[in-house]
């Protein structure tokens, strides 16, 4: 009769939940090392050293050196650390805006809901990067400009998710009962709604993170973000463009690859968290 096509799922000593937790742990450790590296690495390795200019990757300089003899590995790790920091601020800001507007849309009546969905439409109707350029321009670029820009542009999709979630809990029986028992809005929000949307909020935050980091790097690359004195990845890559035609590929290759790995790691944590949370839900 019909042959069994099963057994694709290999046996392993850990179950899915443990494996997912393990993956998340590894990712977090990796990111922690990068951040610590950025803080602890010797600043001396990125001072101008004209004796070791333009050298290709070697054991001494894993990622090579640039035209001023600075060690590219150190610059990259510092850049990543900076990117994660900026990303963290931007993602936290965006998540807070999303939380506030999503809750407001779901609880403060029809008018507020319409207004907020109109604001969301407003933000989604201009290309993301153009909005970022506009905001960075208004604030005169630099750290402040990029952070505010990132905070103001990444919340709409998460706000929609939170609005839907809050709507769902609000109609749930236990909330209805609390309402009848005369509990205040704030009490219900704090005791019923917030705990319910916390997982979504965490997942949403983790999935925002990679976007924020990528956009920071992109805007900085375009010259409208962090200042050229900062060791940001965007700066490194934009500087490298001048030297690419002379064959110094390592200036662009490694920093970008590392950025990719960091972003992918964040994305993985978010996805794994999602798996974990939806599993425990049912």
């Amino acid at each position: 009769m019909i042959p069994s096509l099963k057994n694709a799922n290999k046996r392993s000593p850990l179950n899915l939940k443990q494996r997912t937790l393990f993956k998340i742990l590894i990712s977090i450790v990796f990111l922690a090392i990068v951040i610590l590296g950025g803080v602890l690495l010797d600043e001396g390795r990125i001072v101008t050293n004209l004796n070791e200019r333009n050298s290709a990757p070697s054991l001494k300089h894993l990622f090579g050196t640039d035209w001023l003899g600075r060690d590219m590995f150190t610059r990259t790790v510092m850049g990543l650390s900076l990117s994660i920091g900026v990303g963290l601020i931007g993602a936290i800001g965006s998540t807070l805006i999303a939380l506030f507007l999503g809750m407001a849309a779901a609880t403060m009546g029809k008018m507020a809901d319409r207004l907020i969905s109109w604001i969301i439409d407003l933000f989604l109707s201009v290309p993301h990067l153009v909005t970022l350029i506009l905001i960075a321009f208004t604030l005169g670029g630099g750290f402040k400009g990029i952070v505010i820009g990132l905070t103001l542009t990444h919340w709409p999709s998460l706000a929609r998710v939170i609005r839907a979630e809050v709507m769902q809990v609000r109609s749930a029986e236990f909330v209805q009962v609390s309402q009848k028992m005369g509990k205040s809005r704030w009490w219900i929000a704090l005791h019923h709604i917030l705990p319910h949307i916390a997982p979504q909020l965490l997942i949403g935050f983790m999935l925002l993170f990679p976007h924020v980091i990528l956009h920071e790097a992109a805007v900085t690359f375009l010259g409208l973000g962090l200042s050229p004195h900062e060791p940001a990845i965007g700066i490194i890559l934009s500087e490298s463009m001048k030297y690419l035609s002379s064959g110094m590929w390592w200036l662009a290759f490694f920093p970008g690859l590392c950025l990719l790995i960091v972003v992918r790691t964040f994305d993985q944590i978010g996805e794994n968290l999602r798996v974990l949370m939806t599993r425990t839900h049912d």
């Binding site: 109707s125 201009v126 290309p127 153009v130 321009f137 604030l139 064959g247 970008g256 950025l259 994305d267």
Partner: protein, 333 residues
């Protein structure tokens, strides 16, 4: 029946138009306020290096001429009414009307974006279909891995890699510029243009496939698990015929819609790719305007890119209204 169908569609477009108009007015207003509050001095940005030669009196005259001494609302209204007449002002960098520059740059960008849009759409769709048909195999896992990785890849870095490989190492393509330097625009041949187009298109396409591919994969997996595919199999259909008859039409529509709705990301990709390859399109103009404080050009580009995104969304909605029989045909019973 056909009359009401036409009217329904007309009403739909009208509603969309009204919504778009309100959004556009709001965006104009907000953008205007934003650039007015920027620390960049428009007069200095206009005059540039000659600033030292300009005395305070002359400065005031220029300010008066531009209406910079008026309240912000008055400035907005006079700018707004000029925009309505189609006058977006004069670009400070290029010293030419903004509408002219946008028109010219848009043609360049349009070629770039259409090519990338088609290429990423078709390749992404095929990848998604293959992954879904081979679900669970190594091919599926590869495609999924590739797509997830691409979603984390910075566009400009991909551009740099392509530049290194194809332009620097292999030397197949020039390192930059939309047209060869030092050649009069009349003398630029079609071949030149295409040659400068390939790498940016490649950059945007390589990254653009991820979204369509993942979406198509999921959609096709759903379709293959549906009751109607089960019934089709029960009637003896299988393999490619089954996919062609039932899979394709049920998967293509959402994929097309998704591609249209992705105009915003397409524009963002173009901004970065144009910057990497020094391609003279809208994206590069946006960056220039932002960097050098060209307020009229920046405002013009914000408006234009908004319209561009809106057209994409409208096309996405329309494709549903026109192609899906459930939307197209009025219930006959």
């Amino acid at each position: 029946m056909y009359k009401s169908k036409g009217r329904k569609l007309g009403l739909f477009i009208l509603m969309k138009g009204v919504r778009m108009a309100t959004l556009l007015v709001a965006i104009c207003f907000i953008s205007f306020l934003l650039v007015k509050n920027s620390p960049i001095d428009p007069i200095q940005a206009y005059i540039g290096a000659d600033m030292l030669k300009v005395g305070p009196e002359q400065r005031e005259k220029i300010a008066e001429y531009w209406g910079l001494d008026q309240p912000v609302m008055v400035q907005f209204l006079s700018w707004g009414s000029a925009v309505l007449k189609g006058d977006l002002g004069t670009s400070m960098i290029f010293r030419r009307p903004v509408s002219e520059i946008i028109g010219e740059r848009f043609l360049n960008s349009l070629v770039l974006m259409i090519a990338a849009w088609l290429l990423s759409g078709v390749i992404g769709f095929i990848m998604g279909v293959v992954a879904a048909m081979k679900k669970g195999t190594w091919i599926d896992r590869m495609i999924k891995w590739y797509c997830f990785t691409l979603a984390s890849t910075p566009t400009f870095w991909m551009g740099l890699l392509i530049l290194i490989v194809f332009a620097v190492w292999l030397g197949w393509f020039p390192v930059g510029m939309g047209v060869p330097a030092g050649v009069l625009s009349e003398n630029v041949t079609m071949v030149d243009r295409i040659q400068h187009l390939i790498l940016p298109v490649l950059t945007i396409s390589i990254l653009g496939v991820a979204n369509v591919a993942l979406h198509t994969r999921q959609k096709l997996i759903d379709v293959l698990a549906s009751d109607y595919v089960l019934f089709a199999r029960a009637r003896g259909e299988q393999g490619f015929v089954l996919f062609w008859r039932h899979g394709l039409r049920n998967v293509a529509l959402p994929a097309i819609t998704l591609q249209f709705a992705a105009f915003s990301e397409l524009f963002g990709g173009a901004v970065l790719a144009e910057q990497v390859f020094s391609y003279p399109g809208l994206g590069q103009a946006t960056v220039e305007a932002g960097l050098r404080g060209d307020v009229p050009l920046l405002l013009g580009l914000v408006i234009f890119s908004t319209i561009f995104v809106f057209v994409g969304n409208l096309l996405a909605d329309l494709s549903y209204h026109l192609l899906d029989p459930r939307m197209r045909e009025v219930r006959k019973l």
